[in-house]
Amino acid sequence: MLFVWKMEWMCMPDKIFQFVLGCLCGLLVTPLGFVVAQTDNNEVEVNAVDAEVSELSEAELMEAMALTSKAFRSAASRVAPSLVTIESYGGVSAVQGRIGGIRKQGEGNTTGIIISSDGFILTSTFNFIQRPPVISVILSGGERHFAKLVGRDDTRKICLLKIDGLTDLPIPEMVDESKIKVGQWAISLGVGYGDTSPAMSTGIISAKNRIGGRAIQTDANISPANYGGPLVDVEGRVLGICVPMNPQSQAVGAGVEWYDSGIGFAVPLANANKLLDRLKAGEYIRPAFIGIQSGPNPLGDGILVNKVNPDSPASRVKLEAGDILLSINDNRVNDMLRLKQLINRFEAGETIRITVKRKSSGNEEDLELPLAPPPTNSKEPLALPKIR
């Protein structure tokens, strides 16, 4: 009774019982060993399995469930050496539990992931809403080091810390985003509840290509307890870094209102080398902003520009009230949500091409529009200071 399994099948919860059945059949003893041993095979034989499943005894099903728990624990312990506990000292005080209109973080420590053996650590910008002037990290072995903030990306809610003087730090394996499957197991981990051992929550990948293509979605619990921590697969490989997100807003705290709701986000990192290089170089990546107040066009296609903010990208290319925005990089825009979605795909500093029907001439024009960051007089907390 030898079944051949396809790797991806193993990673889907709705296949895990078959997966475990395989283990029970004596193919392999542990789920992880199983996965490793079967990685090279690409064939699937399903028919035999379905017949087999209804034969499962209660004891076997019970065993199957216990094995999934074992797999979760094993996944957590695989990535644990690369997790750090982040402590902050000082920072702005919250007024009635809020900072700059954002629900403040708790008093506890937060989570980060080591991404290079020489001490670069990724975490979520949410963890620094209070803008602490001093940050330290505790490695999994208990050693404490001071960290400096190197770069941040507000479009992904992540930032890069660096601790100095270390080599050979353990870095986790990352899963390429293209290999991530909707429906596969996802385990979120974080040390935010104050224990040195990370808390875990399990679920599945709910969707990919969310938030302007920057995030994957999961129904595992995501909250301040694991923002900055990893979302891993059953083998303990990192699928993404947990962050608060909300497609409607790129404010640093937006998305925290959905904590532990079954709607959670993580930013995949396997192909993020370019991004990480920019952060290592000290870049501050900010969301894109056009600078128009607009609404649906009551007379047809496109978005009607109601007002152009002074000194904004829109005013620089001489957009005017009454102009109709028809498309962005050849994507038609007919409603506000679509406009937001399209803009969210870009970041400040990038240039988009827009097609506009001018009020003055009635002609359609193509314009190059260099995007800028949103003005700083918004309710957002200011940029984090560099750590001394």
Partner: protein
């Protein structure tokens, strides 16, 4: 976790093709007769209902603390819909538990284990009457999740509440909802992990916790081994102590604890602390700001040496230092 429930639901369907009851199904249906719905007084926005579990064959019921206990009557509805008036045997401020008694035979009940049941990553089923969805003889709602962490942590409902400092079993099924407290958290084999606790916020994360009060704590509470009256520990007379440092206070109490000046001849001077050092931790407690520093001093005794960690430049220094009685 909603999707996971559905997924497992599919497997129940699998297993049931041959009319075999699945084990999750079995754990739930075996637990249902041991569950009760509790109704009592409400106060303003605070709901007057909760869930409870039967813990003896003669009508002992374990539930949570709450305003529903404060009215003239507490009504308990058994799984078969039978209603009984309950008397309150005891209630505890710290564990936020209550023990009720009804005059009825209750042959199905949960055994309370003195040992802890379940470890991180284990599947658990939470059963509760959250939002009082179930009425009369309707079964209470079941949710599936895993144990996130077994830990001790400080958490409180409001500033006035006594903070619970015992062990909590954090789970990832969302149980922090009105009426869920007093519900059962069981393993797929139907063993009791603990009962769903009251809605509390973690001071660590500023989020609502989903957790069970573990069975070992329940056992102590029911068997009377725990102090249940909220007895206070004999308080040592507090003495004001100091290290002999003046901290930078400009900018408010949320500043990190930077040393401005070290008093000559003080413990700090003997420990060779200097201006601009930042106090990172005292006796293992992190000093995040001036407020933490002031709190920390209150717990220290004169001439008792503690470990202090200090940041000097980018270096981390460990010093042994004993505070002196404040002059």
């Amino acid at each position: 976790m909603g999707c996971v429930v559905l997924v497992c639901g599919n497997h129940l369907a699998f297993a049931q093709q041959k009319d075999q009851p699945s084990f999750i199904d079995q754990a739930i249906s075996n637990s249902q007769p041991k569950m009760v719905k509790v109704f009592g007084a409400s106060a303003g926005k605070v709901e007057g209902f909760a869930t409870g579990i039967i813990v003896s064959k003669d009508g002992l019921i374990l539930s949570s603390q709450g305003v529903f206990l404060d009215g003239r009557q507490v009504k308990v509805v058994l799984a078969d819909g039978a209603e009984h008036m309950a008397t309150i045997l005891k209630r505890d401020r710290e564990t936020q538990l209550s023990l009720l008694k009804i005059q009825a035979d209750t042959p199905s009940f949960f055994e309370l284990s003195e040992e802890s049941v379940g470890e991180k990553g284990d599947w658990v089923i939470a059963l509760s009457n959250a939002f009082k969805v179930a009425d009369k003889d309707e079964p209470v709602s079941a949710m599936l999740g895993v144990i996130s962490l077994r830990t001790t942590m400080e958490a409180r409902l409001t500033k006035r509440d006594v903070a619970y400092r015992g062990e909590l079993v954090l789970i990832d099924a969302i149980t922090s909802n009105p009426g869920a407290s007093g519900g059962a958290v069981v393993t797929p084999r139907g063993n009791l992990v603990g009962i769903v606790g009251k809605i509390i916020n973690s001071s660590e994360t500023n989020t609502r916790l989903n957790y069970a009060v573990p069975s070992s704590v329940l056992f102590e509470f029911v068997t009377g081994k725990a102090s249940v009256t909220g007895e206070t520990q004999p308080v040592l007379e507090q003495q004001d102590v100091e290290f002999g440092v003046v901290l930078f206070t400009l900018g408010g109490r949320n500043n990190p604890a930077y040393i401005d000046r070290v008093v000559r001849g003080s413990p700090a001077a003997k420990a060779k602390l200097k201006s601009d050092d930042m106090i990172v931790s005292i006796a293992g407690e992190k000093i995040g700001n001036l407020k933490d520093y002031a709190e920390s001093l209150k717990s220290l005794r004169p001439e008792e040496e503690v470990l202090m960690i200090v940041k000097r430049g980018v270096e981390m220094m460990r010093v042994r230092i004993a505070p002196r009685l404040k002059k």
